[in-house]
Symmetry: C3
Subunit: 138 residues, 3 copies
């Protein structure tokens, strides 16, 4: 059985990192599925999803990491073409990826104790984001 | 229900970036599924899949990005061992990942407006590629 | 139908790279599914999964790659906060991602000939790891 749920989020952009674990857990608990997978997918090409230990040190570290591998201020052909200044955001989002698939059993996400699901909004301005949860299972 | 489809592609290698969104959309429309997920998987260890805004500026930018984080011309132990000169391609493919899973409803991929599904062929020569689409849903 | 399996692994940490392809193949063969997807998910925030050509040259190369993009010895706010010295491991794990989804048909993983599924344990000490396999299909 397939169940589609959506989470609406307002972000600050600029590498804003939001813990969406609880909202995903709630949707699984509220469904009639016991066991399966949830595909967490962000529509849009300047945000991505992954897991992390959600604590302030690592949140700062991952922002520094992305600034290091795809700096905001270097030349991007995208910026020349569209003049919107978010070339770095597109590159970061493509390398991180827009989706993650996580198993659940007995209505619980099978995450580690210090493992949270996060959305990173790389865009250079506040955005309203739609995260799609596709639940498949029994 | 599970439905397996395959897309055959000829690439130029060398970071050739191919938009495969339409072919995936067509396979979903041609199936008897309304809602579910499609796992897009490239067989092989020198290519990967992700999403991007498919425009020429970003296509150039992402090639520069990969050349920056895993340059073609530096030392790779793989190249010493096999002498095929594609060590960079393997590293890039492993970090990007060979698969992506995307939800669909009412026979439509739930992508953003400027979000396309791409194959990147990192190998250092033209390749024939098989992309597997595993559709699961109702 | 959804089937949950678990693989228990002892790693050496420090970028230990373990080929888990055979164990995943065995679980698919031993199941009553013919066709579907397997989501391979590692619980924990300092390990990741991907595919690679599993040969000693590339195993050395990918360790060098991660040391290059997220060095162990630079400053991490996480290390200041927790004093456990594994900030680099968290960053590497988040960028690689904790899961991969792979299609199978006729009880066989649809991998390339030189494409193996690996766990990379980025933590700075030996760890016992649980890899979850969520099989969905028919």
């Amino acid at each position: 059985m397939t169940i589609t749920k959506k989470i609406q989020l307002d972000t600050n952009g600029n590498c804003d990192i939001i813990d969406i674990t609880q909202q995903i857990s709630n949707e699984i608990e509220g469904s009639n599925l016991e066991t399966g997978i949830v595909t967490v997918f962000v529509a849009g090409s300047t945000a991505g999803v992954t897991t992390i230990e959600y604590e302030s040190g690592l949140i700062a570290d991952i922002k520094l990491f992305f600034e290091n591998i795809a700096p905001q201020s270097i030349h991007y052909n995208h910026n020349i073409r569209w003049n919107d200044g978010n070339g770095h955001a597109h590159i970061r989002a493509s390398i991180l990826g827009p989706s993650i698939t996580i198993p659940f059993t007995q209505k619980s996400l099978m995450l580690g104790t210090w493992q949270q699901i996060i959305l990173i909004d790389f865009d250079n301005r506040p955005r309203s984001r739609q995260v799609i949860l596709q639940l498949i299972g029994d």
